[in-house]
């Protein structure tokens, strides 16, 4: 079974987000980088499917040269191959991103065979465009369903579970297929020491990406207006309990 996961490198901001002076990006000088939790789970799910069905897991990203870090992390938890489409680090629109990824995937498939299942995150952590996976699926002619929180492969089909507020929906897609998964589908593992060593030495297949800009152009980022609140300190320690329960009464909760 050939499995592919697409992940996107993003900064991991803490309690507030600071922007660069030109407002084109998050000021990441003091931040670490990660991928969306959805994508972390997509990597974990692919590794679990490999453990059940055999085969290999490839991780792919389009981003700056530094995005190698996220690919190596995926290798450290069990991915076998890593492919990086290198950009100059600027923000690519969804159409351009999807076109470059789809072209690279098609190349990889022409060389080594079709990916039975391609996993993406439900939405990227930073831009949240909800579309790169769907666009890739259309270019490759594959079915795709999003919001997936459970997967099983059998008899040439992937059955995928999705939760709505009031129901569980099951989809049954013929392979080769794609799914966009959500955090909660599994609990991702941590890298082991041998995993880390393997990741250090792993080869990352890098190639420059060429942009074919789409019709949505980001001009600048802004932070939403913050509501100023003054915090009423109800007390310190257990002595604050009566004041807290007074608050419950005021809010009509008792």
């Amino acid at each position: 079974m050939r499995l592919l996961v697409c992940v996107k490198r993003v900064p991991a901001p803490g309690a507030r987000i600071n922007l660069t002076e030109d407002a084109q990006a998050i000021d990441a000088r003091h931040l670490s980088f990660t991928v969306s939790p959805h994508e972390e789970c997509a990597v974990e799910e692919a590794i679990r499917l490999k453990e059940i069905h055999g085969g290999s897991v490839t991780v792919m990203t389009l981003g700056p040269a530094e995005a190698e870090e996220q690919l190596r992390y995926a290798v450290s938890v069990g991915a076998d191959q890593a492919a990086l489409l290198v950009t100059n680090g600027s923000d690519w629109d969804p159409q351009a991103t999807a076109a470059a990824l789809a072209a690279r995937i098609a190349e990889a498939e022409a060389a080594d065979g079709v990916f039975d299942l391609i996993l993406v995150g439900n939405e990227s952590a930073d831009s949240g465009g909800y579309q790169v996976g769907v666009r890739v699926a259309h270019t490759l002619g594959r079915p795709i369903v999003g919001g997936i929180k459970g997967l099983a492969i059998e008899d040439g089909f992937v059955s995928a579970r999705r939760e709505t507020g009031s129901a569980v929906e099951v989809y049954r897609l013929p392979l080769p297929a794609m799914v966009a998964v959500k955090e909660g589908i599994n609990l991702p593992r941590y890298p082991t020491l041998p995993g880390r060593l393997k990741a250090k030495k792993a080869e990352v297949a890098s190639a420059p990406a060429s942009a074919n800009p789409g019709g949505l152009v980001m001009n600048r980022l802004l932070t939403p207006a913050e509501q100023k609140t003054t915090t009423t300190i109800l007390g310190r320690g257990p002595e604050a309990a009566p004041a807290v329960v007074d608050l419950f009464e005021e809010l009509g909760l008792l």
């Binding site: 909800y130 079915p143 019709g215 600048r220 932070t223 609140t229 915090t231 257990p238 309990a241």
Partner: protein
């Protein structure tokens, strides 16, 4: 006048609040025409096809794309929901058009749109320019209050759908029983790393039970396996907006904050008076959360008895 098609989600004719908001949003951009799928006539365009018996993102999007091709509206909108975003992504891919997801504001500028949309689940905004003959967008939930919409007579639109499109239709549907859920609870008692262990949540459960509320948690908690992911509040978890959100031992990372910032009142219980959750909350109690919660539970019980 600009023709604005709005794809609405409904459950046997009961229209989703987010779709009503998208209709209202669309009204600010031109002449709105409702598009719905199914047997219930809701006015505007009613898409009907034997294949469309349940939710089917590819087939619905193919139908919408055909309708757009036939009618050539200037704008197509949907609510920025899981389904709205999914269907519109398929429409965009089919028509090879750009799509702006979770838009909060549109400022037409000549043939293009200057728009604002949500990033990072609401922690950041983006100003962008959308250039396209047909503009596709989803409307971020709750940026506009839904107004009454005058539904008119329906025109049935029958798309041509290849049988193959059934491949992404719901295959099986299991209805869940609805108790007090995180999204509907009037009080959410939420715990973070500071709770310390899965057993530590017992007192949060107890307090939530007393107040008719639900228990929530931070991502550290789900990552540690202390609680199921369905309890997680935040960017990649559930969005909540209760009357009171009690954050116990949660630092207030922005990805958590966006999931509960719509709460009417926030009470932080934290041993760090400088924690962002404390400085952003309406009310706070400073100290070790366990003895504090024990005392609160005892006090509620005492007042109920007396």
């Amino acid at each position: 006048m600009n023709r604005v098609l709005v794809y609405i989600e409904h459950d046997d004719g009961v229209i989703a609040e987010t779709s009503m908001q998208a209709l209202t949003f669309g009204g600010g951009l031109g002449e709105v025409e409702v598009v719905s799928v199914g047997e219930t006539a809701l006015g505007g365009w009613q898409i009907q096809h034997p294949l469309l018996t349940d939710y089917a993102p590819e087939a619905i999007a193919e139908s919408l794309a055909q309708l757009v091709g036939a009618e050539m509206p200037g704008v197509v909108l949907a609510g920025g929901t899981e389904r709205g975003n999914e269907v519109m992504a398929h429409v965009a891919a089919l028509l090879d058009l750009p799509l702006a997801a979770n838009v909060t504001e549109v400022r037409p500028s000549g043939d293009a749109w200057d728009l604002t949309r949500i990033r990072w689940g609401g922690s950041l905004l983006e100003e962008a320019t959308l250039t396209a003959i047909v503009k596709l967008a989803t409307v971020a939930p709750h940026v506009i209050e839904a107004a009454n919409f005058p539904f008119r007579a329906a025109t049935v639109f029958t798309p041509e759908l290849a049988d193959e499109l059934a491949r992404t239709m719901v295959f099986e549907r299991v209805t869940l029983s609805e108790g007090i859920t995180l999204t509907t609870a009037p009080v959410v008692v939420s715990g973070g790393r500071g709770v310390g262990s899965p057993e530590g949540f017992a007192v949060l459960e107890e307090l939530a039970g007393m107040l008719g509320g639900a228990v929530g948690c931070s991502r550290v908690v789900t990552n540690n396996g202390w609680r199921p992911h369905s309890d997680q509040v935040g960017q990649t978890g559930t969005r909540v907006a209760p009357n009171l959100y009690i954050a116990c031992g949660i630092s207030g990372a922005i990805q958590h904050w966006v999931g509960m910032m719509a709460s009417k009142n926030v009470l932080a219980i934290n041993n760090d008076a400088e924690a962002p959750m404390v400085t952003k909350a309406d009310y706070a109690v400073i100290g070790d959360l366990h003895p504090i919660l024990d005392a609160i539970v005892a006090e509620v019980r005492r007042r109920r008895a007396g």
